[in-house]
Symmetry: D2
Subunit: 168 residues, 4 copies
């Protein structure tokens, strides 16, 4: 039975449509609810909701808080999935890589272009892939989105096509 | 075989999540796609997309355009469903009532608090009820939402509870 | 606040896919769960699960049990929705009509061609229509399916087209 | 752009509820439709529908036909996903392994316990994982189901728990 730690930080994947404001907002957690739809019989998923913000608003202090929780979790040899807004996901991943030179497990950052539960959402696909990826990938920091696993030094978001692409 | 005319004007029911702007927008029609999920074997539904706007931005000219299309459709004895933003749905309904004193068919205004296809959406429920209501209700103008049919003179939106309520 | 009594008797609408037998079976109630997806703010729905059987296996004793529960419920002036297999839905409706000559509320029988929660299911549409219908229809016994309300003496199931049709 | 070949052979994953027989049947392909819900921007998925049968009815001739198509596809270095009934998935996988001693790509067998599009289905999860797995796994034959990748010599289906488990 593998333990997987999931840190949630907000981003589009967790946005909720608010009937009061008629807009999408980061106000409530919903990763847990969607993880409940997956069959993970040999897996103990531990979800830690750390913050719930748009990643364009993520500060140095926020990234430091993520690093702090990751370091604490790394006291055990469990892989980590971090859900994160796509706009600064790569920035956070590179920050973690610099601070964590000798990783012994994979850390996967993932998110969504359209919120979980909205028609056409890629959120459950990305969660499914990420939870699978941390069982297979070697130590290191990756972005896992849309059927691909990118090492953190070789990826950028392409806004025009709503996807991530390889960079050399 | 009953013909039902559906006029779409936008509103929350038809909002779409835009990955480019990370917000919900009235940019594309989707009523048709959702009507395709209903079984309407004795019914010919004719959808006329008239405009696609937030009802808070609806002008007198827009309401006049709705009235014009309704009058044209009333040359045949088919009931009419109008999808509309909830914020000014009652205003549009009363405007139509004043202009159409001798209705021989029911006209139903409906919409949604959460867009079609978003988790927790009431859109398909309201469409289902409205298409059923126009077969049963007598001539007049109604709001049909959330299991209720309100005569247009006896209804208001209650923002706090995201529903419509009876007024005397 | 209107009270609506719902009696569930099984039928396709409530069938569940069993991974053990690889077939669909009437083993568990799920109407409640799907009613929870509807917005019924002015409505108190009371669900009474009476039996859970394929309506082709429904016996005289079963119909008598349905009648008994209906009579008991009719001590209050609340309308009734009965979910039922489509194959003998009309038979049960006519049996109730004969036994209940002086109805003061509408009784609606409904069901589904494809189970609730299966792709292409008509179950939630029929539930939505039935809960709406009992607010609008006069006293009497009806089948409500696929956007139509049929008086019980003027309806039969058409197996070839998976729908109900009018009979004179 | 990676090409992935998908061979469909039927099984529960592709079963459809038939309103005529009130049972689930292997009569039509639906893998394609569900693949269309996934975002696979760097991937060219080629679906080859080979047969559509319950895997308990799969004959030696059927397995030989699968092997024939696999051999033909292996003329190019593209990985292969085979959708298959779970009951004899392992048997087919071992048959392929014996016949294909020098594989240079991964071949993944997958399927579902509940058909695609039925509430609680694991089908889309397994497809998502399998399409991801063939990008990451080394050459060999695997079962990918429920967040796990099993080498074909170390897996069996456990009927009681509706899952696959490791065997030494």
């Amino acid at each position: 039975m593998l333990k997987i730690n999931v840190i949630t930080t907000g981003g589009t994947i967790e946005k909720i449509y608010s009937e009061q404001t008629s807009s999408v907002e980061n106000v409530d957690n919903k990763i847990d609810r969607y993880l409940g739809r997956l069959r993970l019989p040999d897996c103990e998923v531990h979800v830690a909701p750390l913050m719930n913000i748009d990643s364009l608003e993520m500060t140095d202090a926020d990234r430091s808080a993520i690093l702090g929780l990751v370091e604490q979790m790394l006291s055990e040899p469990s892989p980590i999935v971090i859900t994160h807004g796509t706009d600064t996901m790569v920035q956070t991943g590179r920050y973690l890589k610099e601070a964590l030179p000798e990783l012994k497990v994979p850390i996967v950052l993932t998110g969504a272009m359209t919120p979980l539960g909205f028609e056409g959402s890629d959120g459950l696909q990305n969660l499914t892939e990420s939870l699978f990826a941390v069982r297979i990938l070697g130590p290191g920091i990756y972005v896992v989105m849309h059927n691909q696993a990118f090492p953190i030094d070789h990826v950028r978001k392409d806004r025009d096509t709503s996807r991530f692409v390889w960079v050399d």
